[in-house]
């Protein structure tokens, strides 16, 4: 197999790991942030504790703990030796780390949506469930996107940690090729360039998502407008 194929496969592995961790991590972050904002105090406290622990541990420790620790825990519980694949363990560990940080971004974003937005929906007889998904979540998204995008870039590079538990990712591939060819500069350099390329593409996509999420704040739709009677109220301008 040519080195190009090997590196392409390793890149796909890195991207697959990062994207699946992102999806799982975002879902967990949403659950964590809502639990922390919940009126049920024990639930909020328990979630805050979990998040504090996750944020307080080194990433590599979480990865090791999930990979080696879960196998051990399952052995203790079931008396059987069940092996978890490094990919699955890596995805769980990375999504946990991502969700711990992202939940704080989301929590702030939820709080930044004015109360009046929900109130207007409630006053029109819109159900709470519908209000959350149609009124609150889209506005939260706008506030959270810059922070979530930042954490995505961190997550992308944290995938290199799972090379240590044997996931055949970009870093592991570079290390193996560097060792077998005695050309570490070339191969680590190539891995670095691939990480950089993914980052640049990500940044470009994030920029587009940001401007889309801000499109309602542009005044391009008001070109036909007559003299403005009054400036936008502060509540609406920041909403």
């Amino acid at each position: 197999m040519g080195l190009t194929t090997l590196f392409a496969e390793a890149t796909v592995m890195t991207l697959g790991l990062a994207l699946s961790s992102l999806v799982l991590g975002l879902l967990m972050a949403l659950a964590f942030s809502l639990a922390e904002l919940s009126r049920c105090k024990p639930l909020a406290l328990a979630t805050s504790t979990v998040v504090a622990i996750l944020r307080g541990l080194p990433e590599i420790l979480v990865v090791f703990f999930i990979y080696f620790g879960s196998t051990h825990a399952l052995f203790l519980l079931t008396d059987e030796f069940i092996e978890i694949s490094p990919f699955v363990a890596g995805t769980i560990a990375l999504s946990l780390i991502y969700s711990a940080y992202a939940s704080q971004t989301l929590r702030g974003a939820f709080m930044a949506v004015p109360k009046g937005q929900t109130e207007a929906a409630v006053a029109l007889g819109i159900s709470r469930f519908h209000c959350f998904f149609r009124i609150i979540l889209p506005q939260t998204w706008r506030h959270a996107l810059p922070g979530l995008g930042n954490q995505w870039l961190v997550l992308l590079k944290d995938t290199a940690l799972v090379a240590l538990i044997g996931v055949h990712d970009l870093l592991l591939q570079a290390r193996m090729t560097a060792a077998s060819t005695y050309e570490p500069f070339t191969w680590y350099g190539i891995a670095a360039l691939i990480y950089l390329a993914i980052t640049l593409v990500s940044q470009n996509i994030l920029e587009r998502m940001k401007s889309r999420s801000n499109r309602h704040l542009t005044s391009s739709h008001s070109v036909t407008e007559g003299p403005v009677e009054k400036t936008v109220s502060p509540g609406e301008a920041t909403a």
Partner: protein, 246 residues
């Protein structure tokens, strides 16, 4: 019967904001709740839509009856009833609270479509209302591109989408300049001609005079004076007389 309120009371913490409030409003009337800030008039208005729940008393509005404190029925039952009420009782907020991520048309269509109106029907109705509010060219505009007065009219149109029997206004002119206030007066008078029952909270006497068919004057959570619009020229209590002279 439009609205009947019997001995409503409400406290926040230890502070009693409303004390033994009773009044009734017949169908099609425009009632102004007048008073200085802190008199409890906004809280009273929000109770008519159950955005606040009273501690004691009873409320009849739009052919539905509520009494407080509510019995320990399953809470989903109570909230379903509140939801039904809110579809008959519209509300326009001081800060409009339009949803900024939706266009004017989407703002108008959201509630009726969720409640089962077809999209085509909702669109036609929205177009008609925007026409009536003098904003037919703003259908696809974002709320942030509109002036305060225009946002207010969109908010009124949004409330009218559900064809409410009662429309509540919380300080509709507090954020508007005098010229735009007159537009709101015209809209309210036009709505009154169409037979809708309205309750308007304000602290502006001039605005109140222009729209009221009834007035309720509150001070420190109590009704000091209530009656027809003639009370503006012939107040019965010293307190209301002083307030009118401000």
């Amino acid at each position: 019967m439009g609205i009947a309120v019997q001995s409503l009371s409400k406290s926040f913490g230890g502070h009693q904001v409303l004390r033994d409030i009773s009044f009734s409003i017949s169908k099609g009337e425009t009632t102004v709740l007048l008073g200085s800030s802190g008199a409890g008039k906004s809280t009273l208005l929000r109770m008519l839509n159950l955005l606040e729940s009273p501690d004691q008393g009873s409320l009849h509005i739009a052919d539905m009856a509520f009494s407080f404190p509510q019995k320990k029925s399953p809470s989903s039952n109570a909230s379903t009833k509140a939801c039904q009420l809110r579809r008959k009782v519209g509300m326009v907020f001081q800060q409009y609270h339009l949803w900024p991520h939706m266009t004017v048309l989407e703002n108008l269509m959201e509630a009726p479509v969720q409640q089962g109106m077809s999209k085509a029907e909702a669109r036609d109705k929205a177009m008609g209302l925007l026409e009536r509010m003098g904003l037919p060219d703003k259908v696809n505009a974002w709320p942030s591109s509109l002036s305060g007065g225009q946002q207010q009219r969109v908010a009124i149109a949004r409330a009218l989408m559900l064809s409410p029997e009662v429309l509540l206004f919380d300080e509709p002119t507090a954020a508007l300049d005098p010229a735009i206030t007159n537009q709101v007066v015209e809209i309210i008078n036009e709505l009154q001609a169409s037979g809708i029952t309205m309750v308007v909270v304000t602290h502006e006497v001039d605005f109140a005079r222009k729209i009221a068919s009834r007035v309720v004057y509150l001070e420190n959570g109590e009704i000091v004076e209530q009656g027809t619009a003639e009370r503006f020229t012939a107040p019965q209590t010293g307190a209301f007389k002083r307030y009118l002279q401000h």
